[in-house]
Amino acid sequence: MTDLALESVSHVYARSGVRSLDDVSLRVAGGERLALVGQNGSGKTTLVRHLNGLLRPSAGRVTIDGADADGYTVAQLARSIGLVFQDPDQQIFAGSVRAEAEFGPRNLGLRGTQLRAAVDEALDAVGLSAEARTNPYDLGASRRKLLALASVLAMRTPVLVVDEPTTGQDVRGVAVVRRVIDTARAAGRTVIAISHDMEFVASAFERVVVLRAGRVILDGPPSAVFAESSWPALRSTFLEPPLAARLGAQLGLQPTPTDDALIRALAQ
């Protein structure tokens, strides 16, 4: 299980001078399921790009299992950190679903039966096994997104980072994403997701970190982050707590970030 840490990380984009991360310290233990939320521009994407070396800190350091990430190239870090980008069309280049899913594990040195097994498992996890020979552009946009997810899953990295996995997905697509996250967790992998969907965040993750203007303003379990005391902080960055949380507060109950929590609290 791989531990991650950001230690007083700041990041300033050289060209624009914009400070996108401001003295952020964060520890993520191996196997955690963490959701990163915040408006566009709050630093979420910048933060996750520091995890695999795509961006390097202007100050502070990033460590993977205690080792400074600075000593490793992005290709090396890709063995530990699998990052799925939000726009699948930014990476799709192969003529078939299978070939696309093979790219990542191939780069990591997998061949033969091992490669095949990794790709089969990943395609199965997202429900694209039947379309292994299909051209990715013959799939709809939401299934291409699942393909992008599969292509990183096949790399079997100890840490999985996904950017906006449920955006553009229908109910079935969201169910696939949830299953993938649960399976990863069961296998001891760390899952970090950037998401705008507060209900998904509250129900699928144990820890929620809220960013605003490059700083962490809330960090805790959903019951704390979506409790009434946190609402001013959330609303200051245009985030609304899930309906269940608001109903629970309206009814004077203990924090109820999810539908299930609300119903359980009412049943008592």
């Binding site: 992005v74 290709a75 890709a78 950190i81 699998g82 990476q91 280049f93 780069n107 552009y137 790399m155």
Partner: protein, 240 residues
Amino acid sequence: MAALAVTLAAIMLSGVVAPLLLIGVGVLLPAAVAGVVRELSRIALLLSLPLAISVVLVNVFFFPGGEAVLLRVGPIVATAEGLRFALEILLRLAAISGAVVLFYLTTRPGDLVIDLEARGVSPRLAFVVNASVQTVPTMVDRAADIAAAQRARGLDSEGSPWARVRGLLPLVAPVVLGSIAEVEERTMALEARGFTRPGRRTLLWRPADSRRQAVARWLLVAALPLLIGLRTAGWLAWLG
């Protein structure tokens, strides 16, 4: 238009003095008026440097029929004629790149397009010109994002030359495929706003075109056939 005229003139004239004059009048003077002399010099220099270097090297050392020897480097000889020829070419190159950069720096793409359209060019053609200019920065940004996504999947961009060549497809294909996929949607968005309506559009404004600009423009354009005529008649030899 001025830029075009200067470029053509630069090609026409021979010798050293003429191009110098041209640079002075056709390029530096308007640049000074527009306040972009420094920027212009910087960009023009950057643009022409690679070409300039090869021009100098080739001509100084390999000019056929050169006799007045300046320098010997083993079997290779630098001649005065070669140097002079190189100088002539360099000056014309400077005139051309200066003119092009001047155009780029002093014209807003939108203005050019609106001006063209106001003079009767089809709006759709004008649009193509404009949109093409905008495409490059967009594609460059996209390319950077694509490179990041592929590197995150282990693409080794810091390795051997062979590895880098193999890495080209995953880098280039999404740029092309993505651009193509985007074209359809962008076309639809344009059509949804009446872009395909035949005929002219209502233009809200036209770029300012003072009398002075118009006069200067016509002078330059008139000068061109004049120069051609004079050159052909052999009357400009003294400038060389």
